[in-house]
């Protein structure tokens, strides 16, 4: 176990959506390797507050790697240097004494910066609202065991369903494409029987909304998969393309 570290931070500061941002340099001294990355920022913020300076705004909530609220581009990588790890689960032992750390918000036209390191990811919500559900009301559904699903199919759907909606895939992509995020949800429903009745209209509606939000196209570089903190696979994108083109081929009902 190494000792405490002194670090230099270059942090993106931006007052709001309208103003231009810039990098500001801060010292982070006496940082324990046992701190999480966000706890290190907490310490910096406490210091700034004591000096009467505006603390750095960043999104975070559960700090368990599951809510998907934390983000941060750290030294050029979404969620920092450690694979399959969210920023909140990244610990300072992944850095070394004297290191300079550059911290930026997600960079994508569809994710405008609202302050400092926080961006507006409501585009993701709108894509889900376009069709990421089964059209059923509460009550009046069959018994749970009346819908048997082979274990391997259920497990595969689960793997797709574990996406935390953080937006790292978009931030990692040179085109700012949201294909990994969208395809994970489309896949989850395409795999299981509950999703079959609206399978094609769902794919069309969600893709249409994705395009409307201004995300870029997929050019198969695979950066999204490499940077995804929960290991969502590229095969989802292949499945989504299949769903989308099949939908066009069969000219299913218009997307609603």
């Amino acid at each position: 176990m190494s000792g405490h570290m002194n670090l230099t931070l270059k942090v993106w500061r931006q007052k709001n959506k309208e103003t231009r941002g810039k990098f500001v340099t801060y010292k982070a001294d006496d940082i324990s390797p046992d701190m999480s990355f966000l706890e290190m920022l907490d310490v910096v913020n406490e210091g700034l507050t004591r000096k009467g300076e505006d603390p750095i705004y960043f999104d975070h909530d559960c700090r368990e790697g599951i809510c998907g609220m934390c983000s941060l581009h750290i030294n050029g990588r979404p969620h920092g240097p450690k694979e399959e790890t969210t920023t909140c689960q990244l610990h300072m032992r992944s850095f070394h004494d004297g290191q300079t750390i550059v911290i930026e918000p997600w960079r994508a036209a569809a994710f405008p910066v609202i302050k400092d390191l926080a961006v507006d990811r409501s585009a993701f919500d709108r894509i889900q609202q376009a069709g990421a559900y089964v059209n059923i009301n509460t009550g009046g559904v069959p018994d749970a065991n009346a819908i048997p699903i082979p274990k391997d199919v259920a497990d595969e759907a689960f793997e797709s369903a574990t996406c935390i909606g953080c937006g790292a895939c978009v931030a990692a992509c040179k085109n700012a494409s949201a294909m990994l995020f969208v395809s994970a949800k489309i896949s989850q429903y395409a795999l299981v029987p509950q999703g079959q009745t609206e399978r094609y209209s769902r794919a069309q509606a969600m893709v249409a909304q994705m395009d409307e939000e201004g995300f870029g196209s997929c050019t198969n570089t695979g950066a999204c998969e490499a940077e995804c903190p929960v290991g969502i696979k590229l095969t989802n994108i292949a499945r989504m393309n299949r769903e989308y083109f099949t939908a066009k081929f069969f000219k299913q009902e218009e997307a609603h």
């Binding site: 368990e64 302050k115 409501s122 009550g139 689960f158």
Partner: protein, 643 residues
């Protein structure tokens, strides 16, 4: 004065009979009503979606940037339901009985029975939504036994059940947003409740992004705002979890019930230092194979803490497997409160481990030699990985260190059988209310309650209230909206004017220490009285020496935290009052004056078989306690024993 409105008749028929007698709102008239839902966790998202499906107009609010991020998302273990799919003797009655007993007989029979009854519908609903629960090879749903239950009734999705259930409810919510029936407000925080002639008619919110203080009118308001565990500063709650919405409603007349009932979970990753911001829970299933111990002597523990010896240097005869020693029949599987209390006691004796001394060992060496490392990995691999990632210690090679942490709050806003608070038109659902878990919550029951309230209780009960209201829209020009909004603005301005020397976190951490030390898992009169004084002093310090930076018209971290901590300071004092009043050991907490001869918890049914519901009386006035006697017609009260 408190009318719980429990329906008459046999236990198993109460809910069916009650549903028949509840008034209905004609389908065409539902669109004439607006319902406000605050919070989008399991309770809030399921309620908002279900009510919108029925035709009501819904306005839903959350402080996060998306409804999907509410802290229900972090629940790991699973969700109970009395499906009896395993043919192992489960039934609605057995789930009811286990839940009443688990709550140490401090919950209402009728509410708990209804919870068990609708549990089966929840699983059907979630599966129909496409929630990917774990399955067996035959394609049917898998179950596991959880939290010491003798039947396998827990449905799960690996260690991410809360995530999958919340995403299911979020999908139903999204469908209604798309249909235009739910208007969603993200990054909005409720800062007050508007009442007109005693009825809840709206809320005042702050848009966290722009700072706009806004009025929202509705015919009913549903608080689905979760628990208040962050009063302890460190807890397994998310950083943003807070009591503000519930507390401001309390100050407008909603009684707060059993605030001292908190649940402390024994298997969390210990604190590493003052910088610590939150605690991470590991599933208590670890205690099925892990053995809990500390060094037998203080000297050995000291050497270990200083790094003079390694854990592997401590001989078998120098280890104290204290749970096995004290509770030979249950051993390491004693309930959460017993395991937690004993771990804290070891630390207080000076036998704690780790750099801070605030930890005990959870050792898998015996399990690894008995089952092999691969078998242990298959069972607990993800938990071991998480532990390794956070602590940088390999639990396959050396014992884990664990320590208790605040996890859940059983207390909350008082509600009647219809989930209505003491303010007509104001409802509380999920962890935010007090109703179903008594003095202790069973594992895998929180998810069940949140979804039961939202999908299957509120859609029936809210209609009964609305049907008696008349169709007139709520008048947003009523002077009470303006009055309440100005009060909120005044409070925000007051906070922003504070330029002292302490940060909000300084005060919050101090509050956390007081609550943990004196109003945590073990309490006594002397300590509680001391805590009350300390909290009052701390409150003065907050209002005289805290600094809040920035302006209202921006994302302002300092301002958000300051408002929440101001409310935690008031709640903390009420928790202490409630703990002082309850001179019995019960459920999750141990009152030192109420112990058996061998030092175990002793419940006092004769004097404390009631719900303590507190009524706010104004700033700095002692609150008035109202009793709701608990009547048990179906179960026989027994004392717990784990010896």
């Amino acid at each position: 004065m408190l009318d719980s409105k429990i329906p008459a008749g046999p236990l198993a028929e109460k809910w069916s009979n009650h549903k028949f007698h509840l008034k209905l709102v004609n389908p065409a008239n539902k669109r004439r009503f607006t319902i406000i839902v605050v919070g989008t966790g399991l309770a809030g998202a399921s309620a908002a979606a279900s009510l919108a499906e029925l035709g009501y107009n819904v306005k839903a609010f959350c402080y996060q940037d998306s409804a999907r991020r509410a802290h229900s998302i972090a629940a790991q273990g699973g969700i109970n339901a009395a499906k009896n799919y395993q043919n192992d003797g489960d039934s609605v009655y057995r789930l009811f009985y286990d839940t009443i007993k688990g709550g140490d007989y401090r919950a209402r029979e009728a509410n708990v029975y209804r919870l068990a009854e609708v549990s089966v519908n929840i699983i059907d609903q979630c599966v129909a939504q496409g929630v990917p629960f774990a399955r067996e090879y035959g394609g049917l749903l898998d179950n596991r036994s959880f939290g010491g239950a003798q039947v396998s009734r827990t449905f799960y999705a690996r260690g991410q059940t809360g995530q999958q259930l919340l995403l299911g409810a979020y999908s139903a919510l999204n469908r209604q947003i798309h249909a235009g029936k739910v208007e969603m407000f993200t990054r909005h925080e409720m800062l007050d409740l508007v009442t007109i002639e005693g009825q809840a008619r709206g809320i005042i919110t702050r848009d966290l992004e722009t700072g706009a203080i806004e009025s929202h009118a509705g015919h009913a308001v549903l608080l689905c705002t979760g628990g208040y565990g962050n009063v302890f500063f460190l807890s397994t709650n998310a950083m943003g979890c807070n009591v503000t919405a519930a507390w401001r409603a309390h100050k407008r007349g909603a009684f707060f019930a059993n605030p001292c009932y908190t649940q402390i979970h024994p298997t969390c990753i210990p604190v590493t230092g003052d910088h610590q911001s939150k605690l991470t829970l590991m599933s208590e299933s670890l205690r099925n194979d892990g053995r809990v111990w500390v060094p037998k002597t203080v000297e050995l523990a000291q050497k270990l803490r200083k790094g003079e010896i390694k854990v592997t240097d401590i001989k078998e005869e120098d280890r104290d497997y204290f749970l096995e020693r004290k509770y030979p029949s249950f051993g390491n599987l004693v309930p959460r409160d017993v395991a937690s209390r004993n771990a804290k006691q070891m630390a207080e004796e000076g036998r704690g481990v780790g750099k801070t001394g605030l930890a005990v060992f959870l050792d898998f060496a015996e399990a690894i030699s008995r089952l092999g490392e691969d078998a242990v990995r298959a069972k607990y691999g993800n938990l071991f990985d998480m532990y390794y990632q956070i602590t940088d210690e390999n639990p396959y090679k050396q014992p884990m260190r664990i320590y208790p942490a605040v996890h859940y709050t059983m207390g909350g806003i008082w509600v009647d059988y219809n989930l209505m608070t003491t303010i007509p038109g104001l409802y509380a659902l999920g962890e935010c209310n007090f109703s179903d878990h008594g003095a202790n919550r069973l594992g895998a029951s929180a998810l069940m309650q949140g979804l039961a309230d939202g999908y299957f209780v509120i859609p029936y009960t809210v209609g009964d209230y609305l049907a008696g209201l008349g169709f007139a829209p709520v008048d947003k020009n009523h002077p009470n909206f303006e009055k309440t909004r100005l009060e909120v603005e005044g409070k925000v301005k007051q906070l922003l004017s504070m330029k002292g020397s302490k940060t909000v976190d300084d005060i919050h951490k101090k509050l956390g220490h007081i609550m943990w030390e004196y109003c945590g898992m073990a309490r006594n009169e002397e300590g509680l009285k001391k805590a009350k004084g300390l909290i009052q002093e701390l409150r003065k310090e907050f209002w005289s020496d805290v600094t809040v930076l920035g302006e209202n018209e921006e994302l302002n971290l300092s301002l958000e935290k300051a408002g929440r901590v101001a409310d935690f300071l008031e709640l903390g004092e009420l928790m202490v009052d409630d703990a002082l009043n309850r001179r019995e050991s019960c459920g999750g907490h141990f009152r030192e004056e109420s112990a058996t001869e061998d030092g175990e918890a002793k419940r006092d049914d004769e004097n404390y078989s009631y719900v303590a519901a507190w009524e706010y009386q104004g700033d700095n006035q002692p609150e008035v306690m109202h009793k709701e006697e608990l009547i048990f017609e179906n179960v026989k009260l027994t004392q717990r024993s784990y010896k």
